[in-house]
């Protein structure tokens, strides 16, 4: 027997749960503006998320998938991207989407049952929410192929969960990305649960990062509650991709502190203790502590930020609630570039039967 290949999976964390550096911090951790900017987005994301759950509970929003606990992963990955890179999200990466310029009102519209929520005014080339698990991994690979073919220095990033790593599409995407050295980063957000299925039932692997080995691309595991680690390693992966060296898988280990969605009741299948423990690792505290320790943050700034965020969210909610329904014919008018003749009759029929639903929010 002869060893013909060997692989190592590394783990990286820069800030421990208490906000103390646990490793040589990278340059970006010395740039207070960058850190504050990310922290600001993390807080806004959480305020938004809390409000959205509230809207759902009061019947003003449909089923909603909370991102509680994922803020560092989501903001970190988006902060690492360049504007003309392309994001192919799953369905709960609000932190990343907001960072990239999707508006809060758009996100609410989506979960409020209105397609206009995916017509982002901001990042026009980003892919919309993607509910069919892991299918978006192929879109990021395809986008990367387009960039590569046109010789553009752009990258694609897709995001999927621990559950998503069980879908064939995830491996197929990594495999072609490896084979063609595509400029793409596969973010795997390991929040330990896929609805009620814990990671241990999902796969026998010790890490999700090692799934990259199957595609011949590098994989790394980072502390997904450490925004510095996430941003640093995604930046490195993107630099590598932009440099023509191909794809990387970045596994961010975090925890879904909420129910899966507002339609779920996680107490049915997971222990309270587990969630309590996870709260101790949550991502906002540690970066705030670090910012405080380096002297760029204080309680006053915190209060100002919270107030600002609340206003921003409230404005978005108002804008969302005030947006009238789309006309009925909208369901026809975007199906094709030009409406095929046979649909005209159906379109007329739909209009004729008018508004047979309250069209309420939620």
């Amino acid at each position: 027997m002869e060893t013909i290949a060997d692989f190592e999976i590394q783990y990286s964390q820069f800030l421990d749960p208490a906000g103390k550096p646990s490793a040589d911090i990278p340059d970006l951790a010395r740039d207070a503006d960058k850190l504050v900017d990310m922290y600001r987005h993390m807080v806004e994301t959480r305020v938004f998320d809390t409000k959205a759950i509230n809207l759902q509970r009061t019947g003003k929003l449909g089923t909603y998938a909370s991102c509680l606990g994922h803020e560092a992963t989501h903001v970190g990955l988006a902060a690492a991207m360049q504007e003309d890179d392309v994001l192919a999200p799953s369905y709960r990466e609000y932190g990343a989407m907001l960072y990239r310029g999707v508006s809060m009102a758009e996100i609410l519209m989506y979960w409020g049952g209105d397609e206009r929520g995916s017509d982002f005014a901001g990042p026009r080339n980003d892919f919309p929410f993607c509910v069919p698990i892991a299918t978006q991994c192929l879109h990021s690979a395809g986008a990367a192929m387009a960039f590569q073919m046109r010789g553009e220095a752009r990258c694609a990033v897709s995001v999927n969960g621990d559950g998503g790593t069980s879908e064939g599409a995830f491996y197929e995407a990594m495999n072609i990305a490896g084979a063609r050295k595509l400029p793409v980063v596969f973010m795997v957000v390991n929040n330990k649960w896929a609805i009620s299925v814990p990671i241990e039932l999902q796969t026998a692997t010790k890490t999700l990062a090692q799934k990259a080995v199957a595609a011949g691309i590098p994989g790394i595991q980072v502390d997904g509650n450490d925004v510095i680690a996430v941003r640093h390693w995604v930046e490195r992966a993107l630099a590598r991709a932009r440099n023509g060296d191909g794809a990387t898988l970045v596994e961010a280990v975090t925890y879904r502190l909420s129910d899966h969605t507002t339609a779920d009741d996680a107490s049915r299948y997971r222990k309270k203790g587990e969630v309590e423990t996870a709260w101790k690792l949550e991502p906002l505290i540690r970066i705030r502590q670090y910012l405080t320790d380096i002297g760029v943050w204080d309680e006053k700034k915190e209060q100002a930020l919270l107030a600002e965020a609340a206003t921003k969210v409230d404005n978005a909610v108002q804008s969302y609630l005030n947006t009238p329904k789309q006309p009925i014919e909208a369901m026809f008018d975007y199906m094709y570039k030009e409406l095929p003749e046979f649909l005209e009759e159906q379109r007329d029929h739909a209009i004729q039967y008018g508004d047979n639903d309250g069209g309420h929010h939620g």
Partner: protein
């Protein structure tokens, strides 16, 4: 006898078969500890153990393929696909294997399995959670497609599906999972597959429908009854193969046919029903056939989903127009 909802009846039928046939296994995403996102498998894992009611990794193609492998080797798997919008990764395994295994081995191997999935709109669910694409499966040789529309039929047809020696796609109209209750005796008695169920006798017009649309249809029929219009309502129930004799007999009597389904119109199962009547019952027809269906568009997100769906007034008008023709 218990007053149960449609979804209760599904649970009851699964429990009955798990209890009485050791080959039966329930598998899928979140079907175990969580009891299914709609709770169709609630309590089953506690009762029958995690080896017989098991949570799988998240991969529908895998669930279907593994079920086929199990079925070929003597088990009776009953996989759940969480929503019909996520059933498409199974298509390859269903059409290329489940529906063919018996035929291509000349009966040496077979594929007794029931792939369950909730389907249909009207519950204000997120994107991809409201689809009705039963026609895709109805076009596949070797595969049965069954849709119950009442607690009693859910119980009896699911038992029949599990006992059937061939693969069945069992689609559950989630909009009516909890809409009404019915007395259903938990006696293990199956209902026949491959037959329609006539829900109302009538003389003026035949309405063929299935799933949640039976409710809209019955409401429409009640309304029409006030104008002394007598509708015969046929629940297709087994979508494939279609019991066309019952339909043809009814059209022979009424001379008029309206088909109601939630799926997009083009190449929906309603087309097949219409085609059969245009072939075998043409001379009985006194008026054009009408289809009241979902439009040929993507199911809208929920603020507009009801505008997509066949409604009582759309059905009433289609019936009236057909009678006026």
């Amino acid at each position: 006898m218990a007053e149960v909802t449609l979804i209760d009846a599904v649970t009851m039928a699964l429990a009955w078969e798990l209890e009485h046939d050791s080959r039966v296994v329930v598998l899928g995403e979140d079907v175990g500890v969580n009891g299914g996102v709609f709770r169709a498998t609630a309590g089953l894992q506690t009762r029958f153990g995690a080896e017989r009611v098991l949570d799988t990794p998240l991969a529908e193609g895998m669930i279907a393929g593994v079920a086929i492998g199990m079925a070929a080797q003597g088990m009776i798997p009953v996989p759940e696909i969480q929503f019909m919008g996520f059933i498409y990764p199974t298509v390859d395994q269903i059409i290329n294997h489940a529906g063919r295994l018996r035929n291509r081995t000349r009966g040496r191997l077979s594929c007794p399995m029931v792939l369950r999935a909730p389907y249909g709109g009207g519950i204000h669910a997120p994107e991809h959670h409201s689809e009705s694409t039963e026609a895709l499966f109805a076009h596949m040789p070797g595969v049965r497609v069954v849709i119950p529309s009442s607690p009693a039929r859910a119980y009896g047809l699911l038992l029949a599906a599990i006992r059937d020696p061939d693969p069945v796609i069992f689609l559950e109209p989630k909009r009516i999972y909890r809409l009404n209750k019915q007395n259903v005796e938990d006696n293990g008695k199956a209902l026949p597959l491959d037959v329609c169920y006539t829900l109302r006798q009538g003389t003026d017009i035949t309405i063929v429908t299935w799933g949640a649309m039976t409710f809209e249809t019955l409401k429409a029929v009640d309304q029409l009854a006030k104008s002394n219009i007598s509708c015969e309502v046929i629940d297709l129930a087994t979508i494939s193969p279609i019991d066309y004799e019952t339909i043809l007999e009814s059209v022979e009597k009424t001379g008029r046919l309206v088909i109601v389904h939630e799926a997009a119109r083009t190449c929906g199962v309603g087309a097949e029903v219409a085609a059969i009547v245009a072939e075998k019952g043409l001379y009985d027809l006194k008026a054009p056939i009408r289809r009241v269906t979902g439009y040929d568009v993507v199911m809208p997100l929920f603020r507009r989903e009801m505008d997509y769906m066949p409604s009582v007034s759309k059905i009433v008008d289609a019936v009236r127009e057909t009678l006026d023709d």
